[in-house]
Subunit: 363 residues, 2 copies
């Protein structure tokens, strides 16, 4: 069990499905429950892309969680975000719990147009629903030569304590940045805690312990046991990046991400929201309006090359850049399709049966 | 030996000097070697503020390093940055190795005016000289109700290897963010490596080892020994944030900071600069043009309070926010002045003697 953002779950199935068939299948599940068609298609596209990128916890495995939340009325299925403010460069949206991948992708599309005019455009979004895999989102801008940065928090969630404390207060607070590269974009996707909610749930479900003490129990003692997060009597927390040694660094990241995503959107923990959601601060930069796109890619491609040719600690494990493994996965998925572990597939099959949607045929 | 950004060196001297006298003294040292008066005064003000904030490695202890570099012709003493591009929101400067604290402070002042109009303003600066303490810089904007973010790297320095590699390539790459708070601003100042160049030099000079293996030797084996960074035959490196366990996170931060500070300014490692310098990406945000300054501070003050009242792991060590200890230090320094350890004071006295500048009188 490790924490690499690019880790692939062990796949027990050897049946492959084309990405197009999987995207249509996911879109059909969401339209069947009443979601606008373009939103359903965007969700399908992103969830499958996320699987192709190797981020299995945030791919089609998320579809069931979204459908369950839709049944409870947690996700808004139709309509547009409310524009709270628009100054050309700086925009505030109330997402009204619309699907997060659709909402943020829409903001990225708009921000690219504005960044081309002004150099930068920024969107502060409150009350988005869950925004899925941040790396898949920033890839949309990086693929086209732009820099995108996302800071994300959920003011309804509390799983990470401030440094020195033992009561969960923050979400893991992911942040991502994508920028263009010669071979493939560099896609940085990290968070302010050592491990994530998804990895902890997965480790707990598998009855396993983490390799290292990446959590704290309710008294603030480091532990490898994911069960402390499920303990409703004496709830633990996820350790901040840096743990007990230098967790003030993760604390700084967590605070900064809350300031951008909650402070600037004017909605946060003070409002004590109960719905599963996400606050977002998105920024798109056009390097052309700074020193130029060519100058940017010259510098960054040189740096990437210096990384890839850096003498590796283990001769058989060369240095790779964040985004490299995702690019290999996407290429492979386009060529041979994707396969799923039996647990994920079973979950999808149950929803397909319930919603009377045909499962995709295999290739 | 620990790594808290707010740590105070043990002070052996009990002589106190007023901050005003110390500022004038530092400014006099710099004007004496030919620096423009306003630049010398700005440096004096920031170096003393940095000491007051408790960041002793980056306060007046830096004056001697700056003066030595001025003797070698490394720092430009007079003039203005060259404006490479200015689109109103996005600006590129060539700093021509002018004093970094003066240069970035000037950019902050300009960016505040522009952010009030547009919501955001960003400056990419190449060839600044060393920019000192980032927290002291972002404080200038946060004190007045703005958010400031700085990303900083030195393309002439290589002390941190990419994740999985063992050849130093990056600088520690600090990043800072300041935002307004009810009692005092929150000042986040972290970097992509676990420990810093200054802390490593200080630990080496004291003949000590780090408490934890925060460095790698030339083969990539973790070590507590700061000497590996001084070993010119087989040079080691500083470990990335996350170390061997999850250093891909520090790697992501290091790359992102180089992209913003070098990529956008169009100058970086590809140019193989040899002079001690700093590349900077500075961004100032006016919360008023997002959901409003009141909404921002309401959310963030609530969050700060939730942190400060969080049940502490150790009953006698309450959770404090980054910037809290600096605020206490600044208030104390204004009241009783500052004292210095004998080594730092001796160094300053030697420069004072050499440049025929009077040492400040004690209070």
């Amino acid at each position: 069990m490790h924490n690499s953002p690019m880790s692939d779950a062990t796949l027990s199935k050897t049946t492959f499905h084309s990405t197009a068939a999987l995207e249509q299948f996911a879109a059909a599940l969401f339209t069947q429950v009443g979601m606008d068609k373009d939103k359903a298609q965007t969700l399908g596209r992103f969830l499958v892309l996320t699987d192709a990128m190797g981020r299995r916890t945030h791919g089609l495995a998320m579809a069931g969680l979204y459908l369950a939340d839709i049944e409870k009325g947690g996700m808004t299925l139709r309509g547009e975000p409310e524009v709270i403010k628009d100054n050309g460069i700086s925009v505030v949206w109330d997402g009204g719990y619309l699907p997060g991948l659709w909402l943020v992708n829409k903001a990225i599309e708009e921000a690219i147009v504005r960044a081309q005019k002004h150099g930068i455009a920024a969107y502060a979004i409150r009350k988005s629903h869950h925004i899925g895999c941040l790396a898949a989102l920033v890839k949309q801008a990086a693929d086209r030569g732009f820099i995108a940065q996302i800071s994300n928090s959920d003011p309804a969630g509390a799983r990470v304590a401030p440094y020195g404390g033992c009561e969960a207060l923050f979400t893991p607070n992911p942040m991502a940045m994508g920028y263009p590269g010669a071979h493939n974009p560099v896609l940085i996707d990290i968070c302010a805690s050592i491990t994530t909610t998804s990895m902890t749930r997965q480790t707990f479900a598998a009855g396993q312990q983490f390799e290292h003490p990446w959590l704290l129990d309710a008294q603030g003692t480091p532990t490898r046991d994911p069960a402390v997060l499920e303990n409703t009597q004496a709830r633990g927390s996820l350790q901040l990046l840096g743990g007990q040694e230098y967790g003030h660094k993760g604390f700084g990241l967590a605070l900064g991400i809350e300031a951008l995503s909650q402070g600037l959107s004017g909605h946060g923990r003070k409002d004590a929201p109960k719905r599963w959601g996400g606050n977002v601060f998105l920024q798109v930069i056009d390097p052309e309006l700074f020193a130029g796109r060519d100058a940017f890619t010259e510098q960054m491609d040189y740096l990437s090359e210096r990384c890839r040719t850096n003498k590796p600690i283990h001769a058989d494990r060369p240095v790779r850049l964040p985004g490299d493994q995702a690019a290999v996965g996407v290429e492979k998925a386009q060529r041979q399709g994707l396969s799923y572990d039996s647990q994920t597939w079973q979950g999808l099959a149950e929803w397909a049966d319930k919603l009377k949607v045909a499962l995709p045929v295999s290739v």
